[in-house]
């Protein structure tokens, strides 16, 4: 394979390209879903192919195919595309410098998930479902999910890089669903939208405690059906990691993508309220410290090298509330005269690498959780995302959560509300943060469904956080008449 790629890269050089890379990807995915004690889905996806990216006369072209015997033809198609684009090229594409690397990276895996019998995985989900139904027999539905992924990657370029990677992902979760004549309520564990995911092996799923947590999840779903609707107004909020993950994702992770800043996504996913002159901007309070860390063990956005052959990095994004910089690719970093932050990834062989989040983590603070709660006179503790939306510049956001727990006089009262919604403006929200819980409460969540780009790509990214407190946040929409 490597010899074939070298030959094609050489052919492209002879044809006059300034730069070319070829990325081979082979992905195996396994999905398992159970519902009410029965198998809902057992599927395996396999895909293998390659993408060829060229820069010629300052224009970019990309072509992808699964027909390996036609690699040269595909490469020449990429060159044809680059040449065609020159008719509408204002500024030549420049790539920031990088080193030529020969290396291998592999996810550290305790138990290879593909060696674990599917029957064993199903048994675990069935036991978790049974525990939910036993704890709350009135549930309308119980659900269990597991997903596993292995990707073998080979990256080679005209600079001489040869990088191989073996990346594993594992994860899963459970859901308890209760209904009434007018309502449907869901509680999930460890997070909504199929669970939690990590670059790890099956040991990650075993450590979740799906069976152990099932009774609580089931009881909470049943309680939500009978709970009052969450009130509207200004409240102090403590947002736990299962929701804060998506808050970070939407209101920090996306605005710091340099391709959005430069308008590359303007016609589709949108832009950003940030611009390069805003480095030094007061993004949040002094409690807000955020890094983009593709090296943290287990993060769903952890890897060895990005899809441009740039080594994984950890870079500061917000330090004590002050905005430090962006995540970038080679072409976007070059515009600022910088080196890439190593965050250009494609969701498979078919697609071109674009700027993606890695693990955008809110670093732990120094509060105990009960200290955060003690500082709230009248507020809510919000858990697990149910719905999300944010404007095209990433300013006005609105999230719905699965459950709100009432806090009065510095204590959780035990009362819960259903259908909590909160909304805000990104910098105002992060500047209202007056405390983040310490590392004891810090946890990573994987987000395996981040959509961006045309044709559409779905990235797998991670977010670490601990519960954090925010002052006077707008909750609910019922007061808007």
């Amino acid at each position: 394979m490597q010899e074939q790629i070298r030959t094609v890269l050489e052919r492209l050089k002879q044809a006059g390209v300034d730069y070319a890379d070829i990325r081979v990807s082979e992905i195996v995915e396994e999905g398992i879903s159970t519902e009410n004690g029965k198998v809902q889905n057992l599927s395996t996806n396999r895909t293998k192919g390659y993408g060829v990216r060229v820069v010629a006369l300052g224009s970019l072209g990309f072509a992808a195919s699964q027909e390996f015997e036609h690699m040269e033809q595909t490469a020449l198609e990429a060159l044809r595309i680059a040449k065609a684009s020159q008719v509408a090229q204002r500024q030549p594409v420049r790539l920031s410098p990088k080193e030529a690397v020969v290396d291998h990276y592999a996810t550290k895996v305790g138990i290879d998930p593909f060696t674990v019998p599917k029957s064993e995985k199903l048994d675990l989900l069935f036991r978790a479902e049974a525990a939910m139904r036993e704890a709350a027999p009135t549930l309308f539905k119980t659900v269990g999910n597991m997903d596993f992924r292995r990707e073998e990657k080979l990256f080679m370029d005209t600079d001489g890089s040869v990088i191989t990677q073996t990346l594993y992902e594992s994860g899963g979760g459970i859901e308890a669903i209760a209904v009434s004549p007018k309502e449907m309520q869901k509680r999930t564990y460890p997070n909504s939208f199929r669970g939690n995911f990590a670059t790890a092996g099956y040991e990650f799923v075993l450590a979740m405690g799906l069976v152990e947590n099932a009774p609580r999840v089931a009881r909470e779903a049943a309680m939500l059906i009978a709970a009052e609707e969450c009130p509207s107004g200004l409240f102090d909020l403590i947002i736990d990691g299962s929701q804060l993950t998506l808050q970070i994702h939407e209101s920090i992770g996306h605005p710091i993508e340099l391709d959005r800043v430069f308008g590359y996504e303007a016609g589709y996913a949108g832009t950003s309220f940030l611009n390069p002159a805003m480095v030094g901007f007061q993004y949040g309070s002094k409690h807000v410290n955020v890094v983009a860390d593709a090296t943290v063990p287990g993060g769903l956005g952890t890897f060895g090298y990005d899809d441009e052959g740039v080594k994984a990095q950890s870079t500061p994004i917000i330090t004590q509330g002050i905005f430090q910089g962006f995540v970038s690719s080679r072409d976007t970093a070059a515009v600022l005269g910088q080196e890439s932050s190593g965050t250009a990834r494609a969701d498979g062989w078919r697609r071109i690498p674009i700027v993606r989040m890695t693990n955008i983590n809110l670093l732990p603070g120094d509060f105990e959780l009960n200290e955060l709660i003690a500082g709230v006179e009248d507020g809510l503790l919000l858990s697990a995302n149910k719905s999300w939306s944010i404007d095209d510049k990433r300013l006005n956001f609105q999230f719905a959560c699965e459950m709100a727990s009432e806090i009065k006089g510095g204590k959780l009262t035990g009362k819960i509300y259903r259908n909590p919604i909160y909304t805000g403006i990104t910098p105002e929200f992060w500047n209202s943060c007056d405390g983040v819980a310490n590392e004891k409460y810090w946890q990573m969540f994987g987000t395996p469904n981040c959509g961006k780009g045309e044709p559409g790509q779905v990235a797998h990214v991670g977010h670490g956080s601990a519960p954090a407190r925010f002052r006077k946040v707008k909750v609910g929409v019922a007061d808007v008449k």
Binding site: S33, K38, V39, Q40, N41, T44, R46, T47, L60, G61, A63, A64, S65, Q66, E67, T74, E77, A78, R80, I81, S85, V87, A88, Q89, Q91, V93, P117, K118, S119, L122, V179, E183, M184, F262, G263, Y264, E265, A266, G267, F273, R350, R351, I352, I354, S387, S389, D391, D392, K393, L395, N396, Q398, I421, T423, I425, E454, P455, V477, V480, K481
Partner: protein, 445 residues
């Protein structure tokens, strides 16, 4: 790209290997060339050629499925062996729907030589360049021009065969002023004569010219005129959360318990109609069932739901032929056509004393599916109308509204309709004028 014969050969090989089990095979072969532009230059132009084989093997109560891009004989035999192996340990599950038995053959040609000729990579680049040349120095443009070709084939152990050859163009244009205001247009279609890229680009440019010095409005209830792109977004999300048999069976649909009752404005009629020439026109679904026309809403009454085989079996009805091979969603309506009203959009605007005109929405999501509660923000052209004229651009706002309420507050349905992209195909919808539409938040742009 693989020919019809090659796709049928793949299907026959898999079906022979899967015997004596029931199997169905879907082969989706396609190419796509997408030329993307930003800051008035082409920045990403890409091409892909991919063939994916989906194999589903079932017994009365078991189902095992795989997707693979490796379609050589050895790989396919190995995949089928794995699938059969799964059946040995899978516990008895839900009763599986019977394989589709008829008609034996459906083949359709939805491919246009004219489209193929007009949208090569070089011609796409030149078209974009010609559009960009119409802009003044105060404006930049962003968007994508896509040409895709598909060969879709299906077969199952009952001997039925399906094949469709399609090609299609999608074009989007966002024109933005250096001062910040933007306009947007998007078109989709497969008839070369009906695709006017220049006209769409000009619409986006015209909107951008109007979208300047936006005023600030406070959250509250407003009369809105939703252009077809905005209506299409609402309809797409409603179809996902409410119009499928599966969503009602899950008690997640806001139509749960409301079928047959009048819950929307009596002027509202919505049909999933693949025979309408403005839709994608694929006459079969991903389970090989003949697609049927389903009246979703008749005179404000929800009357029909779309099904795949599984949800149909559970409901005790025949499948409607709407499988997209996503059993979690059930059968999805992907060709929704809304009956037009009598006044043109221009006339509705000119007769409006006070209203807000919405070009499109951004980042829509269901807040509470059971209540039909959706949220999204306006984007790329949000205008205040007074006495029949656009008098100001408005800073973008967020709506949070139940569709059960919104579609009971219909003031007008426009007579002119547009083919608008949806999740899987496209809809054909008019503009709607709605009263008391709740904007619950505002943003700064």
């Amino acid at each position: 790209m693989l020919s019809k014969r090659s796709l049928y050969d793949i299907i026959d090989l898999v079906l022979a290997e899967a015997k004596p089990f029931d199997a169905r095979v879907l082969v989706n072969a396609g190419t796509q060339g997408l030329t993307r532009y930003a800051n008035s230059e082409i920045h990403q132009s890409v091409y892909e050629d991919a063939t994916e084989v989906t194999i589903t093997i079932t017994t009365a109560n078991k189902r095992s499925e795989t997707k693979t891009t490796a379609y050589d004989e050895a790989s396919l035999r190995e995949v089928v062996r794995d699938l059969v192996q799964n059946l040995t340990f899978l516990p008895e599950g839900e009763e599986q729907p019977a394989l589709v038995e008829g008609p034996p053959l459906i083949e359709t040609e939805l491919w246009s030589a004219g489209l193929e000729e007009q949208y090569t990579v070089e011609k796409r680049a030149q078209l974009i360049k010609d559009c960009l040349d119409t802009l003044d120095s105060n404006h930049l443009a962003y968007g994508a021009l896509t040409y895709s070709v598909g060969h879709l084939a299906f077969g199952n152990s009952r001997g039925i065969k399906r094949f469709a050859r399609t090609n299609r163009v999608n074009f989007s244009a966002l024109v933005a002023a250096s001062a910040g205001g933007s306009g947007f247009a998007k078109i989709t279609g497969s008839h070369p004569g009906k695709l006017d890229v220049f006209a769409a680009f000009a619409r986006a440019r015209q909107k951008a010219l109007l979208n300047k010095d936006p005023i600030d409005l406070e959250p509250g209830a407003y009369t809105v005129i939703l252009e077809p792109l905005a209506v299409s977004d609402l309809i797409s999300y409603m179809s996902l959360i409410a119009f499928t048999g599966k969503s009602v069976q899950n008690q997640a649909s806001f139509l749960t318990g409301k079928l047959g009752e009048r819950v929307f404005d009596p002027r509202l009629n919505l049909t999933d109609d693949y025979t309408d020439e403005n839709t994608m026109r694929l006459p079969f679904d991903f389970e090989g069932a003949a697609r049927t026309v389903v009246d979703i809403i008749c005179a404000g009454v929800p009357t029909g739901l779309t099904h795949d085989g599984q949800s149909a079996k559970k409901a005790g009805v025949p499948t409607t032929g709407h499988s997209v091979n996503m059993p979690n969603y059930g059968g999805l309506p992907i060709n929704l056509v809304m009956t037009p009203g009598e006044k043109s959009l221009a006339q509705i605007i000119s007769e409006s004393d006070r209203a807000l005109l919405v070009t499109r929405f951004h980042y829509m999501n269901p807040v509470n599916p059971r209540q039909g509660l959706l949220t999204a923000l306006t984007r790329d052209g949000f205008f205040k109308i007074e006495k029949g004229h656009i008098v100001a651009a408005v800073k973008n706002m967020r709506f949070t509204e139940s569709m059960l309420v919104a579609l009971n507050n219909v003031v007008e349905i426009a007579s002119d309709r547009e083919a608008t992209p949806s999740f899987f195909a496209n809809h054909y919808v008019p503009a709607l004028k709605l009263k008391d539409f709740h904007f619950t938040g505002k943003t700064q742009a």
